[in-house]
């Protein structure tokens, strides 16, 4: 679960990390009021869960409340990489002397968190990593011991020379670790961490991604969820035990298992088709799940054909077939559908489906090819 900047900054401040105490607004008028209250100049910042908003014009300096109004007015409703701007953060503007990067994430290879710092702040850190990897300094963090002050100090001496700045930065790093650990985050990032002209160190941007699997330990965090329209659809699917990601293609897919679902999308693409979605219905043959999954697929107007790809494992194909039949009986389908069914008891399963007029194949690649063909023809497959 990605938090927005204004939410992440609040959590930072609660953990003792200095960050401008701005105001989140959803209208230009409120933006002006906030600018008046904070005192100008202010920075007007689009709250979107994507990078590169600065280049897209989503961040503006305002020297007067009126400028704040017009900046807010122009940014609200903007589309940044597919994200519509609905919220702004009005932050007091501060005089920046230099910008740094500080972040923590999970090092999958070493299986532990790692803190990364760089003097190349304010830039896309993945770009820094790709182009000048020597400019990023790493410190693995033992998950039980946490980031020790001496480790933070070593990193801070890579970025700063003044000992007060070193100590301030090291202290922020330790607090960032605590924030990351306390919240069960998978990413906690300050970019840029700024040295201001007065020598103080402060977090000018804030990014936190929480571990969805650990949200049960942080019930309050669920309230911070501000889903975009596509996230809403995914969350709705999740509430029915479905894992769904909408894409832009024509072939709606319904698959049991995440790996197999990716393989299904891949084979569609490999054969020249375009998958409309990722959709994993999990291991069960529960008809209710299939109904919800079908509703997701038909609600996507891009979908020209549906490909159901099921591998019967512990759950037998005949049971799966019965489940599918039951689920599909209540649905009035307007696009063609191809079912592929294989695994334990596949012959019996295919026979059951055929008995209800549902074409079922045993081969995944052929099934995908058939779905693509039907989508192109626009004909009905059952």
């Amino acid at each position: 679960m990605k938090l927005e900047e204004f939410q992440a900054k609040k959590l930072f401040r609660e953990h003792g990390i200095p960050a401008p105490d701005g105001v989140m607004v959803t209208s230009a008028a409120d933006g002006k009021t906030a600018a008046l209250a904070l005192g100008c100049p202010v920075v007007v910042k689009a709250q979107v869960k994507t990078g590169g908003r600065g280049k897209a014009g989503g961040v503006k300096l305002a020297r007067t409340p009126d400028e704040a109004f017009s900046a807010a007015d122009s940014i609200l409703g903007m589309d940044i990489k597919g994200f519509r701007v609905e919220r702004l953060l009005i932050d007091p503007a501060v005089p920046i002397a230099a910008e740094y990067y500080v972040g923590i994430t999970i090092d999958r290879k070493r299986k532990i968190p790692v803190m990364m710092v760089s003097a190349s702040g304010g830039m896309d850190i993945e770009k820094v990593a790709a182009e000048t990897p020597e400019k990023i300094h790493f410190q693995p963090v033992h998950p039980e011991r946490g980031l020790r002050f001496f480790e933070a100090k070593k990193l801070a001496f890579r970025l700063f020379s003044d000992s007060r700045e070193v100590m301030a930065a090291a202290s922020i790093m330790v607090k960032l670790w605590k924030c990351f650990n306390d919240l069960d985050a998978t990413l906690a990032e300050i970019n840029p961490l700024a040295r201001l002209e007065d020598g103080s160190i402060t977090a000018l941007d804030a990014k936190i991604v929480l571990d969805d699997n650990a949200l049960y330990r942080h019930p309050g965090m669920e309230e911070l969820r501000l889903p975009t329209p596509s996230e809403k659809k995914e969350l709705g699917a999740k509430s029915h035990g479905l894992s769904y990601v909408q894409l832009e293609g024509e072939i709606g897919c319904m698959v049991n298992g995440a790996g197999l679902a990716m393989a299904t999308m891949d084979v569609i693409k490999h054969l020249g088709g375009t998958p409309a979605n990722f959709l994993d219905i999990g291991g069960s043959s529960n008809p209710e799940k299939v109904v919800h999954a079908m509703e997701l697929l038909v609600s996507d107007s891009n979908v020209k054909a549906i490909f159901i790809n099921v591998f019967g494992g512990i759950t037998r194909c005949d049971d799966v077939a019965n489940g599918l039949v039951q689920a599909l009986s209540g649905i009035d389908l307007e696009v063609p559908m191809v079912v592929r069914l294989t695994g334990t008891n596949e012959e019996e399963g295919i026979r059951i489906l055929a008995g209800h007029g549902i074409t079922a194949l045993k081969d995944m690649t052929r099934g995908a090819a058939e779905a693509i063909r039907l989508a192109r023809e626009g004909s009905v497959g059952r």
Binding site: I106, R108, K109, K111, I112, P113, E126, A129, A130, H142, P143, E144, N181, D184, T186, D211, D212, N213, A214, Y216, R217, S243, V245, L247, V255, N256, G257, A258, G259, L260, A261, M262, A263, M265, D266, V267, I268, K269, H270, P275, F278, D280, G283, F311, G312, G313, I314, T342, G343, T344, D363, M364, T365
Partner: protein, 289 residues
């Protein structure tokens, strides 16, 4: 031969809830030597002929269990892994999905200090066909033979194995290593065993987007594996930044795309299939050569 488990491996089942009970029975039916169940509060009872204990310590002490398969709910799973590991179990198979990543990080650090290997979490387990099955794989689609399989996924493993079995290529051991960002053993850990295993003639590795385990495997194979290896990577059509079902399947950098992985594998001379069907062809070619 086979790796990690065989008919002699003494297995205990941690967590005898709905799933644990079902799969304990399935494993027993498959022929797995299930010697104990662990379920706090049910110590002293017997389930399907299997003695049940309150703690892993007791189960290990009284039955000599060497391997534990976990069906414990996510909030308690990391504690259960550590319980087994500290009780002296050598191999823990964690089926449980949804364990917080920092919990797994703590587990991974502690397992480093103990003599315990971990398969998973969020995995279907592993099977040495005809000998032992530890996990939730559908035993009937597997057949005994010379192919080692290592996969990050569940149903996709079944799909791949099913096609191999239908084509006459049985498996020495097939492993679902788990779809989470942090899992216990990875490709390389299994490859070491497959390389040493007399029954295994070829290894299929089924990868996906996220992380760089496949790249690590490619480098490792180039240096340490003499047996032929065939690759298959899914997620070529996945958009960046989106989690594709598995918590570990998310493209977070250029290295973690399917293309990058396919390329690195091929650069190391490992043939990579474009579709599941192609895996069979590449296996045939690999065994032929």
């Amino acid at each position: 031969m086979s790796i990690l488990i065989d008919e002699k491996t003494r297995v205990m089942v941690q967590g005898l809830g709905r799933d644990g009970s079902f799969h304990a029975r399935q494993m027993k039916d498959y022929g797995t030597s299930v010697v104990a169940g662990v379920h706090p509060g049910r110590g002293g009872s017997v389930f399907e002929g299997i003695p049940v204990f309150d703690t892993a310590d007791e189960a290990v002490g009284k039955t000599g269990a060497q391997c534990s398969v976990l069906f414990v709910p996510a909030p308690f799973a990391s504690d259960a892994i550590l319980e087994s590991a500290n009780a002296g179990v050598g191999l823990v198979v964690a089926v449980t999905e949804g364990i917080p990543v920092l919990d797994m990080s703590r587990v991974a650090q502690e397992l480093d200090e103990l003599d315990t290997r971990l398969v998973g979490p969020n995995c279907p387990g592993l099977i040495s066909p005809g000998k032992s099955k530890v996990g939730i794989m559908p035993g009937n689609i597997f057949s005994r033979g010379p192919i080692g399989v290592i996969s990050r996924s569940g149903t996709l493993t079944y799909e791949v194995v099913n096609q191999l079995s239908l084509a006459g290529y049985g498996q020495s051991t097939a492993i679902g290593m788990g779809g989470d960002p942090i899992v216990g053993m990875k490709y390389n850990d299994y490859l070491v065993h497959f390389e040493r295993d007399a029954e295994t003639e070829l290894v299929v590795i089924v990868g996906e987007i996220g992380g760089t385990d496949e790249q690590d495997a490619a480098a490792f194979i180039g240096q340490h594996v003499t047996k032929p290896v065939v690759g298959y990577i899914v997620g070529r059509s996945a958009p960046p930044g989106k989690r594709m079902g598995h918590a570990g399947a998310i493209i977070s950098g250029a290295d973690s795309t399917a293309e990058a992985k396919v390329n690195v594998l091929r650069e190391h001379g490992i043939p990579v299939a474009d579709t599941v069907e192609q895996i069979v062809d590449l296996v045939a070619a690999g065994l032929g050569g």
